[in-house]
């Protein structure tokens, strides 16, 4: 059985040792998610604090963990906690002008539940070919900057931008086909 699934099962059973092991394994990952969401607005101490919050929330809601999605659940909590922290910070979120794209934060009319939207979106993401799939996950899920995505994938930034633009349009089209309006 996958190590993370076993860990999730132990967390659901409220084994304290499992929480410690989860922190050892995923603290850096959670902190990195928080770091990217904060876009440089958080100090090391802020990030550590939100990371703590993330694992406390994980523990308090252990019964909600889907065994095969522990890492995803941690990322989800980390992002929520980071976003709640941001408005209280004095330091403004820095936005790189090169990153700014008015199309980036389009909205979807969610007549159905948000959960349904997430399910659809997950399915759609899986239909996108690589490396566009990875680009869109890094950009929207991990909040990674275009330059960093380019570096990680060994591509030119312009290339990433173009691919992101195309994939975003594809995403919009597929969402529209599934009955969502933008």
């Amino acid at each position: 059985m996958d190590e993370n699934i076993r860990l999730a099962e132990r967390l659901i059973r409220k084994e304290e040792k499992a929480l410690e092991e989860t922190i050892d394994k995923f603290a850096k990952y959670a902190a990195a998610v928080i770091y990217h969401v904060s876009k440089g607005a958080m100090t090391k101490e802020d990030i550590e604090e939100v990371t703590m919050d993330t694992f406390i929330t994980l523990w308090n809601n252990a019964e909600k963990i889907q065994k095969d999605k522990l890492k995803g659940y941690i990322a989800c909590i980390a992002k929520t906690r980071a976003k709640n922290k941001l408005p209280t910070l004095k330091k403004a979120v820095m936005i790189d002008i090169d990153e700014l794209d008015p199309e980036d934060s389009f909205s979807i009319s969610a007549e159905t539940e948000k959960k349904e939207l997430c399910r659809e979106l997950t399915k759609i993401i899986d239909t996108i070919d690589e490396p566009d799939r990875e680009i869109i996950i890094r950009h929207y899920f991990y909040y990674q900057k275009i330059n960093s995505i380019a570096q990680a994938l060994g591509m030119r930034s312009e290339n990433v931008k173009v691919r992101l633009h195309r994939t975003r349009n594809k995403l919009k089209k597929l969402l529209t086909e599934r009955g969502y309006s933008l």
Binding site: D46, L89, S107, I108, C118
Partner: protein
């Protein structure tokens, strides 16, 4: 309603294992302290468990305190005690028929076009202030699943026993973990312009900290949800102020995602009391088979045992909530002789000292001359109200520069031997201690500053005037 694409991605709980997340981690240009995180989590977890009592799979006792319902007036009085408290002098507006300070104290709005939201007002006792808000669906639909007639539960009067005449037999409802509150950013900045305790981590206004996100989930929270009118009306109480938390500003934002409702579905038996033996038996028979159970007080001085189900209702909305508490300030200058008796280690070099009041405490500012170890001996300060009540002040923060000193304090009633307040050594948050470690909360002492007659420092009476 529209959802931003980023928000939709935020809710995705996929592992995305094909992505090399090491590059995402490596990009973080700082080394986080995992041991510190682990220690903090384990400590908070232990603290949380102590506060929360038994875990989710343990008994939920549906007694009056949790099985609340209906009539807002009685509920508020029952839950929050006497309302003719200090807060009556703090918040503007009159007490309304429901026993709350009128809606003029709180303004609420929502961006969810399906919801009607109206403020019911402020309730509080000497320790805590709650904002009460009523929500209804515009289409008249209910928020809850409860329909006791379909599950054959006892009638409502048999179902709930309390000192109050509850009218609506509802099941236990709780808010999910996504509830959050934070202070308006502009107010944060506005108050941060005042002297802070250093490091910018938090600021103090008359002894009250600005909201520190450390405390968001701990300190501002939904304390209670009542339903009325067959579940069509939600009444939410949000704890907005108490001694251990951080107000601070007067604007709060609140967001909700869903409510969990524990609905009794099947009668399982009864017991006279919940002994370890009963508990073990129920645990073996039900909990271990993933059946949630509640003990409901019956009219035979015992408990009926019911199988309950957790039903979740999405309630997606956010509120902004403005608390218009009075913010008058009274001020006075302090003569140099008195000021030099108040400040220690100043070598007689204190000048231009002044005092100002807020609802939460007094602040003292003074000029000094280079000395670094200066501190205010606040034990010699007494605040006297017009009715003769005396308050001491305890320091909660200071800021010392080469030329100036600023000390912020909080009030405590001198005649209350049970009063516990914060003491501290170096004025940093981490140094705050309680005078009694077993005491887990602090009383709020907010004073309508119009009631303050004078401040006595080392025998010198100082009369203050209202700042226009």
């Amino acid at each position: 309603m529209k959802t931003e694409i980023y928000e939709a991605f935020d809710d995705i709980k996929e592992n995305f294992d094909s992505i090399d997340d090491q590059s995402i981690i490596d990009e973080m240009d700082m080394e986080i302290d995992i041991e510190k995180i682990k220690d903090g989590v384990m400590a908070a977890k232990t603290k949380g468990r102590k506060k929360m009592g038994k875990g989710k799979k343990t008994a939920v006792i549906l007694a009056a305190a949790v099985l609340s319902a209906g009539i807002i007036g009685t509920t508020v009085f029952a839950a929050f005690g006497g309302l003719d408290s200090a807060f009556g002098n703090i918040f503007s507006g009159d007490m309304n028929a429901a026993g709350l300070y009128s809606g003029g104290n709180v303004s609420v709005n929502t961006d969810d076009e399906n919801l009607e939201v109206k403020p019911l007002g402020i309730a509080g006792d000497d320790e805590t202030v709650y904002a009460a808000i009523e929500l209804t669906h515009k289409d008249g639909s209910a928020f809850t699943h409860s329909d006791l007639s379909t599950v054959g539960l006892p009638t409502k009067t048999e179902f709930v026993h309390s000192d109050n005449d509850y009218e609506s037999p509802v099941s236990y409802i709780e808010c999910d973990d996504e509830f959050s509150v934070y202070v308006d950013k502009n107010l944060w900045q506005q108050f941060n312009a005042k002297p802070s305790s250093g490091g910018g981590a938090y600021s103090l206004i008359g002894g009250w900290e600005m909201l520190d996100a450390n405390n968001v989930y701990e300190e501002h929270y939904l304390t209670k949800v009542d339903v009325d009118d067959n579940g069509k009306k939600l009444i939410m109480y949000i704890k907005v102020l108490n001694k251990t938390n951080t107000l601070k500003g007067n604007m709060l934002y609140v967001s909700f995602k869903s409510l969990s409702e524990y609905v009794p579905v099947k009668y399982l038996g009864s017991c006279e009391e919940i002994t370890d033996e009963v508990y073990d038996q129920v645990k073996n028979q039900y909990y271990d088979n993933d059946i949630d159970v509640s003990y409901i007080k019956n009219d035979k001085n015992g408990y009926d045992i019911w199988q309950i189900e957790n039903k979740k209702t999405d309630v997606n909305f956010s509120l902004s909530l403005k608390l218009n508490y009075k913010s008058d300030v009274k001020t006075a200058s302090i003569d140099d002789e008195t000021a030099n008796s108040l400040f220690k280690n100043a070598g007689g070099n204190i000048s231009r000292a002044s005092i100002s009041t807020t609802a939460f405490g007094i602040s003292i500012r003074a000029s000094k001359n280079g000395e670094t170890d200066v501190y205010a001996d606040t034990s010699n300060i007494t605040v006297v109200t017009k009715d003769g009540k005396e308050y001491g002040v305890a320091p909660v923060a200071d800021e010392i520069s080469n030329d100036n000193i600023y000390v912020s304090t909080e009030y405590f009633p001198k005649d209350d031997i049970n009063y516990h307040y914060l003491i501290h050594s170096n004025m940093n948050e981490s140094d705050l201690e309680t005078v009694d470690e077993n005491f887990d909360h602090y009383k709020v002492n907010m004073i309508d500053i119009n009631r303050i007659e004078k401040v006595i420092i080392g025998g010198k009476e100082i009369y203050l005037t209202l700042e226009k």
